[in-house]
Amino acid sequence: MSEQLKYQKATKRAQVGFTIARFVMWLVLVVGSFAFLAPLYLMLAMSLKTPAELGATVAWAWPKAPTFENFQIVLTNPNASFIMFFKNSTIIAVLSTSGVVITSALVAYAFSRLKFRGRDRLFVLLLSTMMLPGIVTMIPTYVLYKYLHWVDTFYPLWVPAWFGGGAFNIFLMRQFFMGIPRELDEAAILDGAHHSTIFWRILLPNAGAALATVGIFAFIGAWKDFMGPLIYLNDPNKQTLEDGLRTYQSLQSEKWELLMAGSVLVMIPLVILFLVGQRFFVKGIVMSGIK
């Protein structure tokens, strides 16, 4: 047997091994995705069934004649208006997302490009707030809002977002800015540009992916927030979708087809947002390089 033949055999064996390994990986991923999607599937299947079918069939069977009746009932319930919840969630999420994106970029610019007294210690302080349990500040801020007469308004849910937007977002944005070559702004400084010009003209236009990532994170965070609306909002007409769904649960304790229809309604905007924005996620995080 010649050397060449031996070599060919060996490569072939390696290739077969490689293909098998890939197939196994693929199989693991497929099985895993079933496990991850099963609850969502269950939710959808149950929301499309009539109560009679729900009682008669196993929960995960696909409905024989899918019906949108449940969604209609949910949307027209006068005691828990999902349309109102949707509006409230949108207002809060949009206001707080804009705040997070704008102010975290501003602050991140300061920490990544400008030198000022106490900057590095401040940055450590900023990072350490990530470790602070939210509950420590929640009780006194509740008292603060009480004196501002902000309880039962949307202010507590979005105004704080306009003050830096949280350590994680500032950090992400700063890391991203650090990756944009300094030569660009140094050239601009030589041309006599102000810092604000550099920020608006050079950094922001180059930070699209980071802005989108932070924006999507912020939107999802605000949309999903449960504790905040639970504590600050009292008027049932001011509830957000997330809290409204829980209220709805207490109204319709065992009507699963309706609860699931409500759940699907809460999930839809998140899924759409995710599908639209998913290509930014990994890219945005990779480029900022969380370390």
Partner: protein, 792 residues
Amino acid sequence: MCFGLMLVAGTALADGPVRLRFTVWDGDESLKILRGLVKKFESENPGITVSLENFDYALYHQKMLTQYAADSAPDVAMMDPQHFMALAKRKAIIPLNSLYESDPNFKIDDYYKEIVDVHSDGKELFVMPRDIAPMSMIYYNKRLFKEAGIPYPDGSWTWDFDVRPELKEKDFFWVMRQLTKIGEGNKIKQFGYAPAWPQLFTDCLMYSSGQRYVDDQKAPRRLNYNRPEVKKVFDFVVDLMNEKRWTPSALEVSSVLMSTTQQLFTQQKIAMFQSGIWEVPNMRKALKPGSKEFFDWDICLFPKFKDGTLATPSGGSGYSIFSSTKHKDAAWKLVKFMAGEPGMRAMAQAGIAQPAIKSLALSDCWIPNQSTPLEQQWPANRIATHNAVPFVIFNPPADYWPEVQSQIDGRVNNVYNDVMPVSEAMSQAQRDGTQRLSMLLREEDLPSFNWFYGLLVGLVLTLTVLGIVYWPERKVKYTLRERRESISGYKFAMPFLIGFLVFTLGPMMLSLVMSFLRWDMIIPAQLRGFGNYREALMEDPRFWISIKVTLLYSIISVPLGILAALGLALLLNQKVRGVSIFRAIYYLPSIGSAVAGALIMRKVFSPDGGLLNAVIYHPIVEKFTHLGTTMSHWVGKPNDQINWLGSEKTAMFAVVIMSLWGIGGSMVILLAGLQGVPPFYYEAATMDGASPWQKLRLITFPMLTPSLFFCLITGVIGAFQMFTQVFVLFNNTGGPNDSVLVYMIPLYNAAFMSLRMGYASALAWILFFIILFATFVNFRLNKLVYYEADTK
């Protein structure tokens, strides 16, 4: 544009002359009637508009307290005997005596004395009663009685701890046995009886056999759960549920039959169903005369004990006026309307609520006669509700009682969920309930607290932290350009600086000060010193339970989550077919709504027909692994499928599995970390003949340490603060036997249910130190791992 939205988002300004906010907790049916009543009231009282708001009962009383504390209380609110004292004591609701005494058309003597008394503090009335609700109504299915050849109950029946066959239909448990039908495979086809909730049945037996849970029904000072007579009743109930099976266990109803007992009654699977009169509208809806679901039914009273004692647990409700209202007269008009004839009549006709005015309860709006419309004929024997009134027993109305009650309920539910023997549950209920009771009864003489000093301390601490940041660099010389840059820096960082002061550092220091106080935001604060910390560490049994549970949860879920996320990230970093779809699938659940997620998880984990059990008890899986039977044995119920959320051994698993569903967040971060590894590292390693394992160990892991570390830190912090899932999954309790009582649940309840802001702040600070410590340990760990990898 932003400003426009701001205005939209803000509170609507009051318009019109008088606008009343009117809050209630009620079901869909009653709300419909209340809306009609509000319209009628508005047309009769021009110039007054009423906005009706509905809350769910579980959070209602908490919302009333916090709203009052935050100066945003409604004008008129629905109230009940168990909760009005907490508000009355803080002067949040006003006594109604002067209002009704000066009203010539109003006679308080028209009302049942029992419901008036229970809504007073002994001297003054705080809640104008709208209904009284004895909860010993037995709804019975006439058809099933006829089929079994048993005469309809006329209320003269009695009960004893043993069946007395010689008494026949005069013996309640004989009837129950006769009406229970067992089918093939020992499956129950028809239950003789079921209460709306298990405790209701126990209450009826307890009270009519002359036993009480507490020494004083108005203001309890001692508990009786350790008495043999009380245990005997519980033993009896458990025996009926689990051995004789004449009544379904709570578990059987909610998870096996996936229903409520009320639904089972209308489906004719239960012959007798016990509840209050408020079930009537649902019954009428389900059993329309002429429809194919229809069968004849009626109500009667729960039996007397053999010695002739009749006693019935009772509810009731009414309306209160908040002291913060600006329209006291209009509010009184509304109360008078709703808790007077117009309101009661409408409620009575719908069959929802028994009028609190005696003459109305005896009139034809409640008791049907020939002229009553057909659909309102059922139930015919409504006079039973009136006959029950002299025998009503209310839960203790004392303001401290709900907290003790919830402590006890946690233990007692273990009996109904069949996770603990009666004697053990009773002694725990006695022990923990007594502990809480004595803590709440203890009168502490505390000095009042001057906020000036508190704020001063907060200010000094805040300035100290800022000083530490600024001080070391104060003397660094800056050039003109640098100084300009420095000023710009502060300008750009301003949002963070202000936000940090106002929303983080300031509140933190304030909460530190608050942790030494007793304060409910209503009554002026008192200085409690280390009392809050002492209470948490030495007196509150739930504190240590919650610490244990939270640590356990973190220790299991965080490493497991990171490992799983790492595995996924490694797989998804390969060039596998359809990788971007896989990424989307695995990431999707982590962004999903937590409430919806928790809801669907109840279906995944349900014992019968749940998704998880369907997999592990599947014949194929069973054949190869015996996973299901092994698990069942381990839980202690070899014949049943696992009730994941109902068993104290598995509830934590369920919560951990649920947390694994959301690992997408860490996965993305690790994936990003993997993609950040420069490809030439691998190329060089391949040149040198490194194996895939070597590449993973010597390149990937060291390069990934920062991302892993980040996931670890945020994971631990998140795990310690887990709240929403348990809150939704277990309805703001600690689950079976407090096995998933995560730290945030008692903390939230202390702060916003009991308004104990000082104690809650102390709990928050303890949590802060635990997290700080955990993070510190993680940092040490990180150094270890990183350097080891570095030096090789």
